[in-house]
């Protein structure tokens, strides 16, 4: 009997990609994806279930489908995507409902992987250069996204304590960069002049989007419980990041930097307060624990940035890749209609 996997946030970048990767795995029998938005990637056998943002439907799904693995990728770490209220609903209330369902009597859930973020460490002057997994931040979490992620991790921890038979892995990702993902940082790096904070040149760490996916699949496959930082090797100054991208930096004033970002918002680059802190103080997370567990990265921090830059150059010439549009009727036709001949060898 193979795995039955529930992915939260199927419509997100990670959920979709993870579902694609799991579809290729014969050891996975069932993939169910939950989201409030439709998937944005082409999926063959993943079942998409629309839910509201706080997953009130979840209890029923877990019971009905008897999933044994939950991958929680729905956590919002980019606070520019939505209003704070919604972010709280999705992150905190959604996680609460997820774990309530997973710990209900008779639950079949045995593995849980949560995709969190290095944002939980914050960025302040007092932090060590490298934060280990057991690092406890001294600076209070001031932004909504940081507070919500800390609350989420609290729920994860409680769940792990209350359900010792469940293997819980919590992954904290550094700044993700790559060909396809769009974050405030990648948008900033695509501007003609890269914004920085006057007088600060902090050291940044990146993780390549493929390494993120590989890390999630790794903990799923190897069943390593615990908290793991996921980030590429090396720290490089923000000015060097810009240099790798062939750009110069333009300095925002260090006092009232959040005011100065208002014109940037017009350009589609919103630098939230947690990123202003990062642009002042930087953050390094120690990635050795996941390496000890046996994971090997494919990209260093600088390597990830360079690959991002090359893909931007390509996109500028040949245009963006076409976006996949999910159409419920079409999907149902391909999956359910007796007219479709299944199990035929794929044409190579």
């Amino acid at each position: 009997m193979g795995r039955r996997v529930l992915i939260t946030g199927l419509g997100t970048f990670w959920g979709g990609r993870l579902a694609q990767a799991l579809e290729a795995d014969p050891g996975v029998d069932v993939i169910i994806g939950l989201d409030r938005l439709e998937p944005t990637v082409k999926l063959e056998r993943t079942e998409y279930v629309r839910s509201d943002e706080n997953y009130s439907i979840l209890n029923r799904i877990v019971k009905a489908t008897k999933v044994d693995t939950v991958v929680h990728t729905f956590l919002v770490v980019d606070s520019t995507q939505m209003a704070g209220r919604l972010l709280h609903e999705i992150n905190v209330i959604g996680t609460m409902n997820l774990f309530a369902a997973a710990s209900a009597p008779g639950s079949t859930v045995r593995d849980v992987v949560v995709k969190s973020s290095a944002l939980v460490y914050g960025a302040s002057t007092q932090d060590p250069v490298w934060c280990r997994e057991d690092f406890r931040r001294k600076s209070p979490a001031r932004t909504r996204v940081e507070r919500s992620l800390l609350e989420v991790e609290g729920y994860v921890r409680d769940f792990a304590i209350d359900n010792p038979h469940v293997m819980v892995s919590l992954l904290r990702f550094s700044n993700v960069i790559g060909k396809d993902i769009a974050t405030p940082l990648t948008k900033a790096l695509e501007l003609p002049l890269v914004p920085s904070v006057l007088g600060f040149d902090p050291r940044f760490q990146f993780v390549h989007e493929d390494d993120v996916l590989r890390a999630i699949l790794f903990v799923l496959d190897q069943e390593v419980p615990g908290i793991f930082n996921v980030a590429g090797d090396g720290l490089l100054p923000w000015s060097e990041v810009a240099k790798i991208c062939g750009k110069r930096t333009v300095a925002l004033p260090f006092a009232g930097a959040s005011l100065a970002t208002a014109p940037l918002r017009r350009l589609g680059v919103d630098l939230p307060p947690e990123l202003i802190d990062l642009l002042k103080y930087g953050r390094g997370i120690d990635n050795r624990r996941l390496k000890q567990a046996g994971f090997r990265y494919d990209h260093t921090s600088a390597g990830a940035v360079e690959e991002f830059c090359q893909s931007v150059r390509l996109r500028r010439t040949v245009g963006p890749e076409p976006i996949y549009h999910y159409d419920e009727e079409v999907e149902t036709f391909f999956r359910r209609s007796p007219a479709v001949v299944r199990d035929q060898p794929t044409v190579s």
Binding site: R3, A21, L22, D25, P26, G27, V28, R110, D111, T125, Q126, D127, P128, V129, W130, R132, R157, A160, I161, P164, H165, M167, V168, V197, L198, G199, F200, R203, D210, R214, L217, F218, D221, Q222, E223, V224, P225, G226, I227, D233, G234, L236, P237, E240, K243, I244, F254, K280, Y281, G284, Q292, A293, G294, R296, Y297, D298, H299, T300, A302, G303
Partner: protein
Amino acid sequence: MGRSMGIASEAMAGTPETDDRRSPSRADGGVTERRQAAIGNPAALVPVALPPLAEEDAPLPDPRRSDVDEWGRSQHMRELAHRLYQPIYDSWFRVEWEGLDKIPAHGGALIVANHAGAVPSDAPAIMHGIETEVGRPVYALADHIFKGMPVVGTLWARNGGVVAHPDNAYRLLREQGQLTLVFPEGSKGPAKTYAERYRLRRFGRGGFVEIAMRAGVPIIPIAVVGAEESMPIMFKIPALAKAIGVPYFPVTANMLAFGPVLGTLLHFPAKFKLRVLDPVGFDDVPPDQPRYSRSRIMDESEAIRQRIQESLFDMLQQRRSVWSG
């Protein structure tokens, strides 16, 4: 087994150790060893003991464009700073070392010294001296307040300044075997007024001894004469310090002589003498312990403080003039 998982399995294929780990399959309903470990310690999601990190097989492509290391130090920047500072070192402070051969040529060591002068002039002198004469980089642990200052913080980091955090110190000393400088008096040293010169303050809570024990490195004490007179504090304005959020706000003789701006930058040309004392080793205690005896730490800390204090008095007895030594 048959549970290969797409991309991840490619990276995993191989080592017998990984095979071993994946063999207890979920399907048999058994609880794996790892899971058992997790149950053993419910308080943490972090319970599993993992094998030591194996050597990386092949280095990944790492297209760096600058030589700024993980601590923010840049060798280029240091060399530029050496060229700029050399005349000050030679002609202004006329720095004279004694026992520089006690600084080890390899391996980590924690250098501790007395700290003085409103804007301390001892740190650059010690770092410049060791870097140019011993030829090893020196990282200086300092208060995190510098990191928050625009421009200053960046320059400080490029020149080897690191936030004084036990994790940073351990990594520098134990894992990277670097020379690391720390002033155990902290800001209490430079905050003394001229009337209290060369009287060492409390050496914090002895944290530097604990770090050296944990990292398994010796402590090398240095006594510095001259920094006190290079920028003496006449009096302090606590209200102003509180208002702008700095540990102390000094009014120095330099400010009275050169004005408020130049006075914070320009030191008086006091003669600098530095004496390296015999290293203190902690070979009898094993490194990497979670805790060390508090009384031992405090005793060692006090003994080192005493030795620096006595050397200072000895050097001051022999000093004929503040300016010519």
